[in-house]
Symmetry: C2
Subunit: 124 residues, 2 copies
DNA sequence: TAAGTGTACTAGATGTTCTAGTACACTTAT
DNA sequence: ATAAGTGTACTAGAACATCTAGTACACTTA
């Protein structure tokens, strides 16, 4: 089972699916040109309607994370398709979050430490 | 007009209201014991149903940002009520975001720089 | 007493989400 | 050629959250 759905989560199913697959791609579990499960297979495996899977896949394609070949299936896109956007968005959120944390009294050292820890965990 | 609603935003109205008021409190525009507009006034001013405002205020009270006095109105809570939780949650998100940004190739210097900028903008 | 306040409740409209079913075009393997 | 597997498109309806509308009651203050 590649993905699990949290039915307590108030977000719609298709959104949970897109988010989790995006993460699998960003982390590197799924890499360029990997085939992801077909709409029907994923639907059966997760006991979810195929239309819901289809919608999730459409969003993934729209955002550049996968590409679709009719009759063959869905495949993971090259990193270049999404890396830039994700980095830009992430840095913006990072900056905004840093401002708020400073307003809440977080020290420079605290934030630096978190960054250092992130660098370590990323190497491992 | 204290708050404006973005009807293009897919999030529900009551959620937008709670988020914006939270920000006003965190930033310091609204401070301890300030009275916020009554359910009815806010509803008229924003051309929104009073029930929607009420729901937003209930969430704000549940999260500790305001307190309610029957017959008098709603007032901003002391910072101590929400500061700790918000700092903890924020630092967690900060750490997770840092990990992802590192995986995307962000350098230590880039993230440090964003933190420094945040410290500067917070002083101003 | 009157005005303003929070709170609770019912009822209904609206939009999104999800399911169900069907159909068609394409690719691959046999 | 045929069958199986694939993506895609469409209609229909159920289920749910959101929002509006209206009413009512208890409380506080002037």
């Amino acid at each position: 089972m590649l993905i699990t759905i949290d039915y307590q989560d108030k977000r719609p199913i298709y959104e949970q699916i897109t988010e989790k697959i995006k993460n699998l791609i960003v982390v590197g579990v799924l890499t360029e040109n990997d085939k992801i499960p077909s709409v029907r297979n994923m639907a059966i495996e997760m006991s979810i309607n195929p239309n819901t899977i289809q919608r999730a896949y459409q969003e993934l394609e729209r955002d550049g994370y996968i590409y679709t070949v009719k009759g063959r299936g869905n495949f993971v896109s090259p990193v270049t398709e999404w890396k830039e956007d994700r980095l830009t968005d992430g840095l913006n959120r990072f900056g905004e979050l840093a401002v708020e944390l400073c307003q809440l009294g977080a020290t420079k050292e605290t934030l630096y430490k978190r960054v250092d820890e992130a660098l370590v965990s990323e190497r491992g």
